[in-house]
Symmetry: C2
Subunit: 424 residues, 2 copies
Amino acid sequence: MSLIVAKFGGTSVASTERIRNVAKRLVKMKQEGHDVVAVVSAMGKSTDELVAMAAAVNENPPAREMDRLLSTGEQVSMTLLAMAIDALGVLAMSFTGRQAGIRTDEAHEKAKIVSIDAERIMSAVNDGKIAVIAGFQGIDANGEMTTLGRGGSDTTAVAVAYGLNADECQIFSDVEGVFTADPRVCPHAKKLDEISYDDMLELSSAGSGVLQMRAVEFARKYNVVIHSRSAFSDKPGTLVKEASMEKAVVTGIAHDTSEVKVTVRSIPDVYGVAAALFTGLAQAQVSVDMIIQNLSNDGLADISFTCPGKDLGRAQEALKKLMPEIGAREFGVDEDIAKVSLVGTGMKSSPGVAAKAFSTLAENEINILAISTSPIRLSVVVRNSQAVDAVRCLHTAFGLDADEVFEETMLSAEEIAAKMAKGR
Amino acid sequence: MSLIVAKFGGTSVASTERIRNVAKRLVKMKQEGHDVVAVVSAMGKSTDELVAMAAAVNENPPAREMDRLLSTGEQVSMTLLAMAIDALGVLAMSFTGRQAGIRTDEAHEKAKIVSIDAERIMSAVNDGKIAVIAGFQGIDANGEMTTLGRGGSDTTAVAVAYGLNADECQIFSDVEGVFTADPRVCPHAKKLDEISYDDMLELSSAGSGVLQMRAVEFARKYNVVIHSRSAFSDKPGTLVKEASMEKAVVTGIAHDTSEVKVTVRSIPDVYGVAAALFTGLAQAQVSVDMIIQNLSNDGLADISFTCPGKDLGRAQEALKKLMPEIGAREFGVDEDIAKVSLVGTGMKSSPGVAAKAFSTLAENEINILAISTSPIRLSVVVRNSQAVDAVRCLHTAFGLDADEVFEETMLSAEEIAAKMAKGR
């Protein structure tokens, strides 16, 4: 008999009907002999609705009230799930962040978990109950409700799994696990049976949305095994865990169409200019991702960077103020870009990856607009319209293609490119 | 400077726009120099929506989970109201039942308040904040969230006013106060400047829906002055308080069209029959209101009773089982009735009230189907279609008519009778 923590996201509990399905799934686990602790997000879009109501009464709502407001979303889903389990004849008990003993720091709206006192949960589990815990919330040292920030429910699940010393932390979503590439884009994508924490983190940061980075970081720190699997099928998913001995050179390919590229031209090449530029952008809360600098012939430099499209407005405002300061002449924005990243722990010891990637792209007439690397990741920026081709040809070149093909997702490159258009 | 507890019901906070209006009103009180503590219900129909979701996952949801679910409704309205006050530049702080120190017994879904520990609220008030408290909820000795049952927010307000030793407990609703009769029915109805607890309780039990009986009982017990007033006007409303020395004979006239009359015919007139009948009905959770017994010529008795229309199904089922037991031949149901009640503490010492009421009704050709009395109330059951005429002629006969007339509510008796039809 093992202890399983099972986390269900907002989509999985978006309606009372879906909540009943989640209840059936949990009861089945219980009947198979496992001890079961569930962690739930708020129903569907309910958090967005609460945020909209808050915005309607106060443009800048106090964080304490905001946390208390948002925490009601998970309290609704957790009680409904406990009721649905009860209706199936199995005992259940819901727990708020407070009742679950999830203590955080005092940083409202983005609190960090400090400790877990799992005694009450364990007591319920030992009484034969399925414990249902509200994700995304905890209490600070003053007894005030806090929230962990968007996507915090994954982190709650991992933290609870750690606190309970659970055998597995299953995170259910609408995908079957972690793939070598997005199956909607690459029909030959293959589900990975397991992936290391490091590879998962790089894939997440490079645009793969399966798991929250923060939850993976927490799991790596405390060595919690995450099982990423589908809420709508019984198939096993992907285990996220310590790297096994043998490593593939490239584990997977991620793509991200949500970024834009900004180029600041003709900056005097003197000390401190880059520092001034990126300090200014950071102060304007622009999340800069890749940075590329070229020195042009006339002793002036061009600096390009990529950032999320949603930060572009802030970036432009900041740049208008910064331009005279740093003596730059102009800046340009390129929204028609996509980032394609190869990720693999094995890349560290395989020097030929970059060369192979670049020649593969060249053979397929895909122009590289920018390059950035980490020890276990190689990212290239390409035209948005060529992103699908880039993912596919790299996937084949690095031997990731599955024997089976995702027939249902075998769209044409054009169709997928249209889907991947900005603002999707 | 006085301390005011101000309670706003679900209609007053049904939208973010209305919440902003409530915030303005509270800020105005504060700016006039008062200390202000607000108590709020859940927004509009949100409690009904939560109940419906619970019913969709479990026909008989566990009470603990139900209370936790329902308590989220007030947590949403209290945080939004605190945010709206903050947006007007005045400090505000919201309190759940737990944080407000409202301790109850363990009777989930119908908890009774045991004590109030108002220290945290007072501390916020002393810091210059408007405290906003979630109505309808508390915690039991185990730290579990409880709810006070429907209408519990009025009780929260009175209890908090008592706990804080407030100068006044203002209960805001969509009516301007307590009237001598329902102004929608009786255009000459007059707003009362004040009314005694006893009269208010009798009016409430006789069908006047302005204040929750339970809150009035609590206020009487602890001598808390309630100010019932309109959320949509600045006019003073009605003070509910200890009776003043001089008492009107009749304070007001209430009517209730929600009851039905059941007559059990030809029951043997032997000991214990009535006891068996009403014990059976009580066990079936039928709230019996008036009871009338007549002995007919043949030594057999007819027993009639009234009960809420919603209890009729249960009553009929119970009677089918009880009939053979008590030897009764048959029973009939009369749904076309209304109860009209005269209420006044002064009736105790004015023996002519009943006679005057009966002759007034006779002069107006209104047939009396049943009569019941208490020391300070006289209720008659009449045909539903004659209820409006009965209220109006009694209102005039007992000198309650105002000089001013509610023009906007001067509907014809037929129009009002149609409005008052069952199931409205």
